[in-house]
Symmetry: C4
Subunit: 274 residues, 4 copies
Amino acid sequence: MKSGQSVMRIAMLASLLIVAPLQPAGAQTAAPVSGGPVDPALMQDLVIANRVLTDLNVIDGFGHVSMRHPTDPNRYLMGRSVAPALVVADDIMEYDLDSNPVDAKGRASFLERFIHGEIYKARPDIKAIVHTHSPGVIPFSVSSVPLRPVFHLGAFLSPEVPVFEIRDPGGMTNMLVSNAQLGKALAATLGDRNVALMRGHGSVVVAATIPMVVFRAHYSNVNAQLQMQAMSLGGPVTFMAPEESQKTLGVIDQIHGRAWDLWKRAALEKMTSK
Amino acid sequence: MKSGQSVMRIAMLASLLIVAPLQPAGAQTAAPVSGGPVDPALMQDLVIANRVLTDLNVIDGFGHVSMRHPTDPNRYLMGRSVAPALVVADDIMEYDLDSNPVDAKGRASFLERFIHGEIYKARPDIKAIVHTHSPGVIPFSVSSVPLRPVFHLGAFLSPEVPVFEIRDPGGMTNMLVSNAQLGKALAATLGDRNVALMRGHGSVVVAATIPMVVFRAHYSNVNAQLQMQAMSLGGPVTFMAPEESQKTLGVIDQIHGRAWDLWKRAALEKMTSK
Amino acid sequence: MKSGQSVMRIAMLASLLIVAPLQPAGAQTAAPVSGGPVDPALMQDLVIANRVLTDLNVIDGFGHVSMRHPTDPNRYLMGRSVAPALVVADDIMEYDLDSNPVDAKGRASFLERFIHGEIYKARPDIKAIVHTHSPGVIPFSVSSVPLRPVFHLGAFLSPEVPVFEIRDPGGMTNMLVSNAQLGKALAATLGDRNVALMRGHGSVVVAATIPMVVFRAHYSNVNAQLQMQAMSLGGPVTFMAPEESQKTLGVIDQIHGRAWDLWKRAALEKMTSK
Amino acid sequence: MKSGQSVMRIAMLASLLIVAPLQPAGAQTAAPVSGGPVDPALMQDLVIANRVLTDLNVIDGFGHVSMRHPTDPNRYLMGRSVAPALVVADDIMEYDLDSNPVDAKGRASFLERFIHGEIYKARPDIKAIVHTHSPGVIPFSVSSVPLRPVFHLGAFLSPEVPVFEIRDPGGMTNMLVSNAQLGKALAATLGDRNVALMRGHGSVVVAATIPMVVFRAHYSNVNAQLQMQAMSLGGPVTFMAPEESQKTLGVIDQIHGRAWDLWKRAALEKMTSK
């Protein structure tokens, strides 16, 4: 896995050589135009995902979740800079893939929105992204021990979970993926996987839908805690075989909605009881 | 214990040689007939068990609990494919022991219902079954360290907790016990024990009543966590002696209803307060 | 500490040689007379202690708390055999120190009430007793590593926490302290300490008041968890010095009421909001 | 770090030689005068901080939070001796920097108020202080393994977290920082850092504002738990580089209000729903 990471980092550094000179975010002369209105049910799912991830202790006052614009693949939607548990529909902002807001209306943007914009650029298959500081994954982000699928609901962690070392593209930073260059580097580390860890910081999780990205963010955290405990027992640990993981992805496709229904219902009950 | 497992696996493989050729679930020409009406109090206990196990963090959006039909031993009852926390009486479906639904009424069945059907076939003494992904037991399912009774409320883990390695009967699978062949293999691994772990997946827990199966599922999880912590201290650990465990089963028979009363009451309060 | 335990066990075995032949609990010809009415505020504290210990996860569906009768030192008061979270004033039963109920009124008694009766006999200074299966202490009950005071609020664990090995007086048992002989043996192991662990079972905690026994039961559990974590770091651990512990007992005397006020208030709010 | 601590302790001992002979707290002939009225919004933030830290499990029935008087730097404000979760505005007492109350009105003071007074004296830059027994930090207070920043939100733990060994200034004590001499020694150990651990006791956390001190107290606890888990994996751990931590302080300045807004809102909702 280490050599795979090295290859990946070389690929990433090479890709940085051919990008156009970076412009500061404020250099645009005009705000991007909107991708158009969004189905309210989808918008509600984005709001709900913020609440669900908080209830699951995957995110706390920090962390964010976004979705690609359903009708314009060059736009994405994400809450303003507020704790996810407090997000309501009016907090959802629209961005182009350079992470410029379409119409900020005075709302502040997340410093790390470039995580989202650059991954949406690099991964046309991805429609939803979560960035977490979830407690299970951070220990693996700073350890030489890789996070690996230890049970079937963690199968999406196969074939590997790369670790983004921000020192590689950025040297000594403030740890934030706060510009396009760092966002591109993170996207390169992620490659075609579903999850990447960010050293000393957290994780980024991607999927084709909101329910799936929430599922993956939660079970990344659960799998990490189970792996730590299994390893603490001292004996050898049997991880999922790659072929088992590959086959189990189909199961997760089929059943993840069951968890989403439960989580969404609980979040809606909490929202309406206040 | 390892050699016991080997013997068991041979027995299991032998048993597979004499079963009739498997038929796909949809091959029946007629649905099975019902075992008849069920006492509403028992049906409520089955619904409540779903809620209780969720409240105890033994199951989450997944996992399931079933009971044998009280008047027809060739039928069993289990919720439709929905998160256990959401199960109501109308979600309870009836199956024959080949896990064909009596009258699905458009409701989807759990992919892994064969766990239940095949164990009810193999174990006439068993009236209730829980399948979990509970966090305490999964580390033991992938470790060479066996789960053992570390305190008196875990006495039912004696004489041993076998681990079902799905690769033995199934090779590289999607990890689900999703047909009769795998269900039979799991039942053979379980043998006459109360709990079997499923490698990289979870556990199956059996008992003669719903309150007892809930007790065993919960205290399997608790015992596992206590054992992990006791082992982490580094010194030798004194487990329950087999004779102690055997004697303690009588205590558990006598006192488990006290816990069930508490759990049931709390679950009912939550159901009615919504 | 090991040699201290050996001395203690010898003392305990010696004490068993001079007790009168044991009578079965049912052999009394008449029920004991009551010690008289009890101040309702004290009785409420006993009820509340059951709720508080449940809220603190020190006890679950099992475990019990008792107090010595405030005006008759030869009687004690304890809930009937029901989950502590459900105890109300009418569940409180009175016992003599042989653990015979004064007037059962059809209520079932805890099988392990002899823990309480025999300790009240052996320890005139003690007015309140808690028996727990709390998750922090059980790992130490089965490990060769002793539970020791790791922070100031655990000072009452000094000078040592003996472990009651029920095999010493009872051989292969059902693990319950279910008769006077075993109760006496446990009391002998406890000696003049504040806490004794029960191997593969839990703990017994004693004090001169209900608020203090609840404090000690809770912070035994907290201290145990802190000690496990401190030891897991791998370096040497600095425990409280005996002299520090001795001096800190005065602090705990002075401040424990602050915690009791908080816990009691929260428990009362929950009771009245239902 | 050890040698740094030695230097620090020498500095601290030297500083003790030049202080005036200590007077017992009761020796003043007149109570200090008040620093004047306090902005009710700030006072509310102090009350809320007590609730927030309880909700975050950073403090329990014990622990305390104070703020420097906003218009008189020689006075500070802190709740009376009551569990933090119960503090209301009328419980807030005013003290001079020798920790004498301005007007006790019969309210009892915390025995350890000298922690606050002496740090406010030694650190003019500090406006808010929290004293905790939080479960994550206590294991590091008794271990030879230092607490270090393992993720970006723990950057304020850089360059080091000193451990206050009360035996150095006090010998065998009751573990409390219960007079000015011990308070001064703790302030000397803290030096110009943001957090100091107190051996076998807890931590003290300082900042320029209430939201920041709450942030630091909480993420000290979180960082400690993450570090324990990362170390338990067995491989080498990559900590934050000092330069990374330094740069990340600016990020925390910028974003910590987002967490405070969330926590404050939740605490206010709980207060008003009762």
